[in-house]
Amino acid sequence: MNISLRQLFGRKPKSSSIAKQRLKLVITQDRLDVDDRFMTRLHHELAEVLAKYFEFSVNSVSMSLKQEGNSYVLVADIPYKKFHDGNARQ
């Protein structure tokens, strides 16, 4: 490991780690044969359902597919403001 001063002070991530991160995402999508349109649709429909249960901003939701060993995991990160009182809104 050869850490330059710039990396040490966290100014710029190494381009090799960016490459790896980008590749992992795109290859997972290639393997599962899902495209951006599919992910956008899933994002919207999931947000619609979740909005019945708690309050959050749609723009703050981030979703990604990840590979863990031999299986794939859908990771959705949803910072919520609060749960709706009582039962879900109909």
Partner: protein
């Protein structure tokens, strides 16, 4: 009974032909009988990379068309015992050959040689299906960049679907300096993404350019890092267990620490 190994990559220009030429020559230098087959019909290059371009009389197309016997189409490399080349036709195209016809050629060659190395064309279409039709095993060549790795992953999926096993990875044009300063993915990054076994790392070596200019595969030159890497891979293909050396350039401090550790 020998092994038929397809050398493939998906993306062009990552070193399939150079790897086929060097591994074929290296295996022959180790005393094996080897035939290297150019499966890139219409865009043949294995002959010129190996320096055998002036000696091609017949091609695999002539064998399929029954214009000549298979044994007569094999061009003997006079520099080393046991190495021959089956060239591809330059005037035909990939659709002129059927996968079953390639398979028949591979089956015949397998019974008479220790190793049959097939140089696959780039792409995932007919040329690739022809090249892999008769293969028992595969070597996937990639360079440590995003487009080559993404295409390699696609090819690995197709090879697995075809039941070809094992699939071994050659990481080509690896730059220890660039990996050392974080500008290039290292072998662990690549293996983490591709999930197959690594059979060797070939460092970037300008000797490849001059050896291709001359038509003399790099492995004839003992000292070059590329030559040594290909010789190690060839030994691993023959079943020898040779560890993969760590090529990464480490910082001065790490080197000092390792020097003390290894004493």
């Amino acid at each position: 009974m020998g092994k038929v190994i397809v050398v493939t990559s998906g993306k062009g220009g990552v070193g399939k032909t150079t790897s086929t030429a060097n591994l074929g020559t290296a295996l022959a230098l180790l005393g094996k009988t080897v035939v290297v087959v150019d499966a890139d019909v219409g865009l043949r290059n294995l002959d010129i990379v190996m320096g055998l371009e002036s000696r091609i009389v017949y091609t695999s197309m002539d064998v399929i068309d029954k214009q000549c016997e298979l044994s007569k189409a094999l061009v003997k490399d006079r520099r080393v015992d046991g190495l021959t080349l089956l060239a591809a036709s330059q005037k035909n195209n990939k659709d002129d050959i059927q996968p079953e016809q390639m398979k028949a050629i591979c089956d015949k060659l397998r019974s008479e040689h220790d190793f049959v190395l097939i140089d696959s064309p780039a792409g995932i279409e007919r040329g690739f299906s022809n090249a892999s039709a008769g293969a028992d095993e595969a070597i996937v060549v990639t360079t440590p960049d995003v487009s080559a790795i993404r295409d390699a992953d696609r090819i690995i999926g197709l090879l697995q679907h075809a039941g070809i096993e094992p699939i071994n990875l050659v990481l080509n044009r690896f730059s220890p300096e660039l990996v050392g300063n974080g500008s290039m993915m290292d072998q662990e990054d690549v293996l983490d993404i591709l999930n197959i076994d690594l059979i060797g790392i070939v460092p970037e070596d300008t000797g490849v350019i001059t050896s291709t200019n001359r038509g003399i595969p790099l492995v004839y030159e003992d000292a070059s890092p590329g030559s040594q890497a290909y010789m190690r891979i060839a030994r691993r293909l023959t079943g020898q267990r040779i560890p993969i050396p760590d090529l990464e350039h480490k910082g001065l401090l790490t080197n000092i620490v390792n020097w003390f550790r290894n004493r």
